[in-house]
């Protein structure tokens, strides 16, 4: 809110410099975001951020009251009209048909306005606060709103039918045209100000076109009322209209301010509009009262919350400066009376905050909590994540952070999105899915980097994916590590050649992560994902638990993301990997007896899986094989078409004794023989 310091001086002394006042306000909780000097007339305008709990600060008088409290100064009141010795306007009446929406409504009839020029000081002050001058009467209502915080509304009295004001709910299908010309369809919960025929204002939000003040207006009906904050807020949100008036009503205006605002406006109207006649005030309903009018406070509560001993006399003084009625019960115990403009004060702790504010947060000492050390285990999932981040970043991959909200682009509605979580109010067009996979997010990262000239994009992300397996239950979030590889494995150097990345690089990263976490006995299974090219994907499991999957992204998606080279993508489920992760590893003795290595180079059909051969070799090893490793794979040259040459290194080693070479040779020959029989393998040198 904009606050003119000149205006503040009407109510409180401001000891210069003005920047000091700004700082004092900031440190009292009214953050002065900007101090803007004005030239004609000379003024300084504060831009103050006012928190939603303090609507009483939404006026110059309210801010002045705070300055008076902080600086321990006296506060002047605005000049008001005495409102005495007048007669009620003949024939006029006010009827409240919705007392919950409007507990208190007052009005006054002003007739025969003779002056219409707004005095300069009002024009300037409004302008300093960002409000344009419109006409004298409207300017005065705006002036009072900014000065004491009470929104008023002025109707052209001649345009009110039947001399009647009715506060009511809308009729079925009722419509209403606002001052700004927009026609709205009223909702049953709306609160209306109406005359005998039709609506004349959406209560507390905006007046109507048909009854607004214009240059011909000579007779004015001035409204000052208290509207239910919730109802005004609802109307303002439903119809998407926010005004200075709705902003204050929805935060709750001071019920006492209803009368103050009206009498302040009357004083200004009397002085500047010079009307022929002002009626007595007509009222309906009762001012709402605070639910909690007094609070018991003990000095020890102040200490236990703040951790500082403030003298009881000082506590009482501070509360008094804030305009609260302090009555001492006994030493350090008070009954504190709450004024109508502080509905936010309902509990002792609320008073403690007030005391702290005025005492000064800066005067509260800094201490460290006294407590014996407590044991805390490291969150095992986070430590697993940290390990993975180290491993992958150490291997040259870059971690990304992409949005969890995605569009359906590239995903299959039936396969991928059937159980996905959907957002009803997406911000950007299309981003209305909580991603069930990170493949499209990482494809976009690759695309962006390729467009920027990168020839190698190795990335990973550790984040959640989301699903709704059961529509009646809460959605499921699963932490995964996604990896995507594109382009070169490593750049060419003067020593090494460049090589394109392959799916086996991806598989290697995933295997390393799984093995480092402690999972053993990995096996592979088929997996079906809409976004992989057919027959190029697999799942890695340990026993029956799928831990990870990987594959080559389909050509269709590559085209969509405009990528020329293959993308390899995989996901590791950290939730499933976590139970495998070993906290403490047990030492394993390595064999003390020497190992004998034998190579086995065979030619088999392309369709034969190397994993099957390795399993077979191991199975035939009579317990003497420690390791089988594939160290070469090639096609072409002397290898017939449709076949491949696989070279295995078989390590024979016993835990109990030294193996004799003849013994090993026998086993080895037998294995070779079996491979020939079972897989039509042949040997080639």
């Amino acid at each position: 809110m904009k606050i003119s310091t000149n205006w503040l001086k009407d109510f409180v002394e401001l000891a210069p410099p003005i920047s000091r006042i700004a700082e004092r306000l900031t440190l009292a909780g009214l953050e002065v975001k900007k101090c803007e000097p004005l030239k004609t007339p000379a003024d300084t305008v504060f831009e103050i951020e006012i928190t939603s709990n303090r609507p009483d600060w939404l006026s110059h008088w309210g801010v002045a009251r705070e300055i008076a409290a902080v600086e321990n100064l006296s506060l002047k009141n605005p000049v008001v009209d005495p409102e005495t010795g007048r007669t009620p306007p003949p024939g006029w009446k006010i009827q409240i048909k919705d007392a919950a929406g409007c507990p208190y409504y007052t009005g006054v009839l002003i007739e025969g306005i003779t002056e219409t020029k707004t005095p300069d000081f009002i024009v300037n002050r409004l302008l300093a606060c960002g409000i344009r001058s419109i006409n004298l009467i409207v300017d005065i209502t705006n002036y009072v709103l900014l000065e004491v915080g009470q929104p008023l509304h002025a109707f052209d009295a001649d345009l009110i039918h039947g001399k009647e004001i009715v506060v009511r709910k809308p009729r079925q299908g009722e419509k209403f045209t606002l001052i700004n010309g927009a026609e709205i369809e009223l909702k049953p919960e709306d609160l209306l100000i109406a005359d005998s025929d039709r609506a004349v204002a959406l209560a507390g939000v905006m007046g109507g076109k048909d009854s607004e003040i214009n240059e011909k207006t000579r007779n004015v009906f001035l409204e000052s009322a208290f509207f239910n904050p919730g109802r005004v807020r609802k109307a303002s949100r439903t119809h998407q209209i926010s005004s200075d008036s709705s902003y204050r009503f929805e935060r709750r205006v001071d019920p006492e301010g209803v009368d103050v605002g009206r009498s302040r406006a009357l004083a200004l109207i009397q002085k500047y509009a010079k009307p022929r006649h002002i009626s007595a005030v007509i009222k309906a309903g009762e001012k709402p009262q605070l639910a909690i009018k007094t609070i018991q406070l003990r000095a020890d509560e102040v200490k236990s919350v703040l951790g500082v001993e403030i003298k009881p006399s000082q506590i009482a003084l501070i509360l008094g400066r804030l305009g609260l009625q302090v009555k001492q019960h006994s030493e350090g115990v008070w009954t504190v009376g709450i004024p109508s403009f502080r509905p936010d004060l309902t509990r002792p702790v609320d008073l403690v905050e007030e005391i702290a504010r005025i005492y000064g947060f800066e005067n509260i000492p800094e201490t460290l909590p006294a407590r014996a050390p407590i044991t805390l285990g490291e969150n095992p999932r986070l430590s697993l994540e940290r390990k993975i981040r180290q491993l992958l970043s150490g291997a040259g991959l870059c971690e990304t952070v992409t949005f969890s909200l995605i569009s359906e682009d590239g995903l299959d509605a039936a396969k991928d999105l059937r159980r996905a979580v959907q957002i009803v109010n997406p911000l950007q067009h299309g981003l209305h899915w909580m991603r069930p996979t990170m493949v499209t997010s990482l494809l976009s990262v690759i695309q962006k980097n390729v467009n920027a000239g990168a020839d190698s994009v190795p990335v990973f992300e550790i984040a959640n994916i989301y699903s709704l397996p059961d529509a009646h239950k809460h959605p499921v979030e699963e932490r995964i590590c996604a990896i995507a590889l594109y382009g070169k494995k490593a750049a060419q150097t003067w020593l090494d050649h460049a090589r394109a990345v392959t799916i086996y690089d991806l598989k290697g990263y995933i295997e390393s992560i799984l093995k480092n976490a402690g999972s053993v006995d990995l096996c592979v299974a088929k997996v079906d994902k809409s976004y992989f090219a057919q027959g190029t994907s697999e799942e890695l499991r340990t026993w029956q638990t799928p831990l990870a999957f990987l594959g080559q992204v389909s050509g269709e998606l590559l085209k969509k993301w405009d990528l020329k080279e293959p993308v390899y993508y995989g996901e590791i489920s950290l939730e499933k990997l976590l139970p495998q992760a070993q906290k403490i590893r047990t030492f394993k003795e390595w064999p003390r007896y020497p190992a004998i290595e034998r190579d086995l180079s065979i030619v088999v059909k392309d369709s034969v899986k190397s994993g099957d051969l390795m399993g077979e070799i191991r199975g035939l090893g009579q317990g003497l094989i420690r390791e089988v490793e594939l160290f070469d794979l090639f096609r072409g040259k002397r290898v017939p078409a449709g076949c491949k040459n696989l070279a295995f290194r078989v390590v024979y080693q016993s835990l109990e004794r030294t193996l004799v070479s003849e013994e090993v040779q026998k086993v080895h020959d037998k294995i070779a023989q079996m491979l020939v029989q079972k897989y039509q393998a042949s040997f080639q040198s």
Binding site: N53, R233, V305, I364, P369, V401, N425, P426, L427, M434
Partner: protein, 324 residues
Amino acid sequence: MKDQISRIEKEAREDLSRVDSVDAAEAFRIAYLGKKGKLTELFKQLGAVPPEEKKAVGAELNRVKQWLESSVDESRQKAPQAGTSTEMFDETLPGIRPPQGSIHLLQQTIQEITSVFSRMGFETVEGPEIETEFHNFTALNIPLDHPSRDAFDTFYTTHGQLLRSQTSTVQIRVMKDRKPPLKIIAPGRVYRPDTVDASHSFMFHQIEGLMVDTQVTFSDLKGVLHLFLRELFGSDTKIRFRPHFFPFTEPSVEIDIQWGKGWLEILGAGSVDPNVFEEVGYDKNVVKGFAFGLGVERIAMLRHGINDIRHFYENDLRFLRQFS
């Protein structure tokens, strides 16, 4: 026997020609002179040689042995070897560097912040991103239809859940789950339907902290958070505590750090509001606590001089690798 010796010598000559490294020289030595080496085997057979030939054969064996030993030494010295320079070495050639990966700057910042708190005994915990009205609003003393909710505009799912607009939800979950004392720190993603620009994003990261015990005061909050900011921004960091309003704390405070000529808001905090304790079933007359929340992006931007929040989510490798 003599034939065997000369055959082995011939073999050795051939093998020797292929020795091109220190390792190969060693393998060569073991093959001939090791415990089971070819020449060693012949020495073992010396006992079986008729006495009249023994001397000559022995001399021959020793000759070959000496030759082998000196050959091994020689090839060791000739072989390119660690610690010896050759004419091939060019000290101006660039090194072959391992590929450069990186941990995302936001993650590094989260790790740094949580580790500061971890040293002060705070445990890192996490909570779900898809949440309920209760955890995101009701339990945090934010009434359904109240202006204080304006600051927490929210994405909703088609099934009535919402995306948390703050990590304060984690306080509620932990308090509902455990008994005091508590010292937790909870990093994570949060969502608000803000239009993306240089300083806003609809998804960003927050870290929430909470301490609950029987005697925790506002002065403890000041002490802990000042210590944290000094750890993060340096020991001469100037800070100020400014009263503010959050529905879930009372008193509430915003903490600014001095930055250039002005002040920058860096943390929101406060003593836990008794209403929150009531919502989670703690005895508000017995427990006290403080909570705080901070924006990870904001802190990372300040510390690293990043002027546009979008850099974090664009994942340009040129950005990511700057912080490896």
